[in-house]
Every structure is written in C-alpha cells, then in structure tokens.
C-alpha cells in the first residue's frame, strides 16, 4: 500500500516533463555553484583596473564589472550565497513551522485557536516590510538576514502542517498508539509526521524560492550581503546604474535569479500535484 502510493507519486511527477527539466536545471546550478569558481583563474575579489566593464569574451566569459572583476566567478560565488541563504532559511522555516503546527493541531481546543490566531496576526503584516525593518535595526549580515526572514516565514509551513496533523490525528491507529501509552511527542514524531511528510516537502520546495527572492530583494535595497562578497541581488543592484551601457552585467545575475526561482516553483508545484492522489487521472 505504502510503496504503491510512492510509486504513483513518482509516476505522476515524472509525467510532468517540465518539472523533471526544472529538477535537472536546479541540479546543474547547484553543481556549478560548487565547482564553477574552480573553472576560473580569478578569485571573486580580484580587480583588473585595465579591463573594467568588459563585455563577455574569452578572458571574462560573462564579462567584467566596474572594477574589472570577473563576472563568471562572481556569479557562481553569488550562487552559493543566494542558494545557501535560501535553503537555510527554508529549512529553519520548516523546523519552526512543523513544530508549531504539529503542537497546535495535536493539542486542539483553545491552544490550537490561540496558536493559529498568532499566525493570522503575523500573516496579516507585510512580510518584506518586517524583514527590512529587522535588518535595518540589527545591521545587515547573513545571520541577521536569516533571523529576519524566518521570523514570519514559518507561518505557511505551520498552516500546512497543522492541516495535515489535524486530519491524521483522528485516525484509529493514533488512538491505538495512545491507548498503549505512547507519549504525545512519540505519537507526533513517529506516527503522524512520517505520514504528513509529502505536503511538508512540497511546501519546503516552495519556500526556497521565496526565501531566495527575499534575500535578493534585501540585497537590491542595499541591505544584503556586504561587499566584496555578492549575492545575485547585490549584483543586479550594482549593475542597475550602468545598464544602458553594460547590459550583460544585469543580464547574467537577473537571468539566473529568475531561472532558479522559476525552477523551484515548477518543482514545488509539481511535487504538490504529484502528492495529491485526488488529481490522479
């Protein structure tokens, strides 16, 4: 029964060719972010003052920026930061959201009501504005950005988990586990969460692109990673003032940023659809 379900999920997913492509593109970007900088003879901070704003050529594959730094190297260094921050923030969101949602749903009653009302209040505030505010006050830096992004980023995760757990806890096997004396923690961790893992993974996949976007937006507003390190958002911001004359400086980071977010979204949507048996045709 279990293996049939996952078999069907795998089949439904691989029928979605677009999502399979998205998966391989993400894999490709991740691999390049790890090995990309090794392909280049330059470091991401190396300055070539004689060759500022060079267009893409044999020496600088993606061109160079206003200090003559190699954009190819910087793009893949930036990929590490953009992807790293995005994935880390999404993982923290999942950890907090799953715990919050599972406790709310399993407790039920007043506790549930209050915990989810807290979510409602936090959810009604503009997410990006809160993140900006926190970063402005604490000063930018990777840790601050992560904290700010996960302050309210976990809410969707909590809602998804809560819906799953609230449904699963009414099943007979849960009552059976309770009757033989399993503790609530054990029931949640061993019996409920493994069965709720599908939607949680799908939500995780959809949280990553929104975290990548938030980091890029912060960097674009000048609140992100500090020079000389650069994420894709920082590079877009740097290229903005010169885009009329040096459009490639804008093209590469914004294209990769969009492509990565698009692929994660396609993948997440496909996972969500594949995990929903009602959509089986």
């Amino acid at each position: 029964m279990q293996s049939n379900y996952w078999e069907a999920v795998r089949r439904r997913f691989s029928e979605n060719r677009l999502a399979v492509w998205a998966f391989w593109i993400i894999a490709f970007i991740v691999v390049l972010s790890v090995i990309g900088p090794w392909f280049s003879p330059y470091s991401y901070t190396e300055i070539h003052l004689a060759e500022q704003n060079s267009p893409p050529c044999a020496k600088f594959w993606f061109g160079s920026d206003e200090l003559g730094r190699d954009l190819f190297t910087r793009i893949w260094w930036g990929a590490r930061i953009s992807l790293g921050v995005g994935i880390a923030a999404a993982l923290i969101d999942v950890a907090v959201g799953v715990i919050w949602g599972a406790i709310a749903a399993y407790s039920g009653g007043k506790t549930d009501e209050w915990m989810m009302r807290t979510c409602d209040v936090l959810h009604s505030l503009p997410y990006l504005l809160l993140v900006i505010l926190l970063v402005v006050i604490r000063g930018s830096g990777i840790l601050t950005i992560l904290i700010a992004m996960t302050m309210t980023g976990w809410i969707n995760m909590a809602r998804v988990t809560r819906a799953q757990v609230a449904q699963l806890k009414t099943f007979d096997y849960i009552s059976a586990a309770r009757v033989i004396g399993a503790s609530p923690t054990r029931i949640i961790v061993r019996h409920i969460l493994p069965n709720a893992i599908g939607p949680i993974v799908a939500m995780l996949t959809l949280t990553i692109p929104s975290a990548i976007f938030t980091e890029a937006a912060l960097s674009f507003l000048g609140l992100g990673i500090q020079a000389p390190a650069a994420s894709w958002g920082v590079m877009v911001n740097d290229a903005l003032s010169a885009m009329r004359y040096y459009p490639w400086r804008l093209l590469f980071p914004s294209f990769l940023l969009t492509l990565t977010i698009l692929c994660f979204n396609l993948l997440g949507n496909a996972l969500r659809d594949a995990l929903d048996p009602r959509l089986d045709r």
Partner: protein, 307 residues
C-alpha cells in the same frame, strides 16, 4: 459576530504593530544626539528634556501611542524635522494611484488567464497558462522592472525611462507591479473554476445547450471569483512592498521611494513612521476586504479552523 471578532483582531494587530515598532526603535543601539561634536552636559540634558527622552519608558510609550492615534507619525531626521505625515500626504496618492492601476489590470488579466486554463483543462493551453502564471510569480519585480525599462524605454523608446509625469510614464511600472498579482489570481481562479465546472448545475446548463463559454462566464465565474476577493489582502500587500523596488527603479516620487531613501539614510524615525503607516493601511484594507467577502459570500462567515 463575525464583524465584531474581525474588528477585535484588527485592533489587536494594530496595537501589536505599533508597540512592536516603538520597542524596536528603543532597541536601536546608540544615542540620537551623540554626533561628531561632543555637546556640553546641559545641552544634552535640555535636548533630552525637549524630546521627552528623560522620562520613563512607559510615559514615552503612552505619548507615542497618543501621537499615532492622532495620525502624527513623527519627524524625519534626514530632512530636518519635516513631519513624516507630510511625506505621506505627498507620496501616498501617487503610490495609491499606481497600485490601484496595477490591481485594475491584474484582476481582469488574472481572471481571463485562469478561466482560459480551466476551460482547456489538461490540454496544452492549460499548461501554457499555468506556466505563464508560474513564470510571472517567479520573476522578481525588480528584474521585471529593469527588463521592461531596458527593452521598452531604452532599446525601443516607446515609453519614458523614468520619472512621473503623465499616463505614459505609468505604463511600465504598472505592468511590473501587476505581474505577481495577475499570476496569483490566475492560479486561484483556475483551481476554483475547475472545481465549479465539475458541479451538477454546470452539467445541467450544458445539457440545456448553452455554450460552454457562456456557462463559464455566467455560472462559473460568479462562484470562482469569490475566493479571489478574500485573497485580495495578500495581493494588496504584494503591490505595496513591490512598490519599493518599482518606484526606486522608475524614480517615482511615491511613498515607496521615500521608504528606500529613509532606509539608505538610516533615518530611523521616518522608517518607523512609514512602517506604522504601511502596516495600518494594510491591516485596514484586509479588514475591509474581509467584510466585503463576508457580505458577498455568506459561506465565509461560518468558516473557522474547525473545518
């Protein structure tokens, strides 16, 4: 009952926001009057007294609350004591106009795209519509803005590159702001429409010989669009924060650009004032949207977590 509960939640959220910004403002390290010059102690003391900083924090909190209630959002430091309320009076109408233009574009476009997808469910048109929606959600608005600016203002000079004068200059920023809401609405309308089209009354209408397109418009859309209304809150929120980036790129003198200016100048009182204003505006809008959807759709009133 529904109204009273929502109203209480609104008040509570507002109180949380305002208190939050107050205590955040006090959490900023440093002293506003410690600058390049070292001031004599008497001067410092009189400055503290003038701004009420020598009083206990609860007295300051109470004063802050009273000033917010009377729509006084403090003064800017970077612009030499100009009241934040004045920036809001000048900038907000522009941002509001641009935002409503984007919303007016996104609603019909999103409904059209979503309906198109639902009517051709499973076919290539459906896949195309949903791919477009995913693409529009995925392009960060600052990337889309710069792309539109480069393509349709610099390479093909159809529209002005930036600035805010006349309808022409509003087109590109409006498109950039409308992309995300269009996509969100399209997804929502499609999934609702698919559900509605499977209902018996749709089959009855089709059996009577009414063309599919007309059925979709008269019966389907009416039911598929209700959830969209209750989803307008997040859409307004997206437009609001999106305006920061878009106004920066197109040099539009709206409130979003003032927000960016104050962030760059680390003008804390102004950042706080604008944050309180943005949050209040958004919370009130969400409240109004809630009322609207409860008024239109009685089902909303009984929905609770115990679903």
């Amino acid at each position: 009952m529904h109204f009273a509960k929502k109203f209480l939640i609104l008040l509570f959220s507002l109180w949380c926001t305002i208190s939050g910004t107050f205590f955040l403002m006090h959490a900023i390290p440093g002293d506003p009057f410690i600058g390049d010059k070292i001031l004599p102690e008497e001067v410092m003391r009189s400055l503290y007294a003038h701004y009420g900083l020598d009083q206990p924090i609860w007295v300051q909190y109470w004063k802050y609350m009273k000033s917010i209630v009377s729509l006084d959002f403090g003064v800017s430091i970077a612009y030499h004591g100009r009241p934040v309320a004045q920036f809001i009076r000048e900038g907000f109408p522009i941002s509001a106009l641009l935002g409503s233009m984007a919303l007016c574009l996104a609603l019909p476009m999103g409904v059209l795209l979503g309906t198109w997808g639902a009517l051709s469910r499973g076919k290539w048109q459906d896949h195309l519509a949903m791919f477009l929606a995913t693409l529009l959600v995925s392009v960060p608005n600052f990337v889309l803005s710069t792309f539109l600016q480069y393509a349709f203002a610099m390479k093909i000079p159809l529209f002005p590159v930036a600035r805010w004068n006349g309808l022409e200059s509003a087109i590109l920023p409006m498109l950039a702001l409308a992309a995300m809401p269009t996509a969100v609405i399209a997804r929502l309308v499609r999934s609702n429409m698919v559900e509605v089209l499977a209902q018996d009354y749709i089959r009855t209408a089709l059996a009577k010989g009414i063309p599919l397109f007309r059925v979709a418009l008269t019966h389907g859309l009416r039911n598929a669009i209700l959830p969209v209304i209750s989803y307008l809150g997040p859409v307004i929120s997206a437009i609001l924060t999106g305006s920061f980036m878009v106004e920066k790129i197109y040099a539009i003198p709206g409130l979003g650009q003032w927000m960016i200016h104050s962030i760059n100048a680390r003008d804390y009182p102004m950042i706080m004032g604008l944050t309180v204003f943005f949050c209040t505006f958004l919370l009130v809008m969400v409240f109004l949207v809630d009322l609207l959807s409860a008024w239109i759709d009685p089902r909303v009133r009984v929905v609770s977590y115990a679903k």
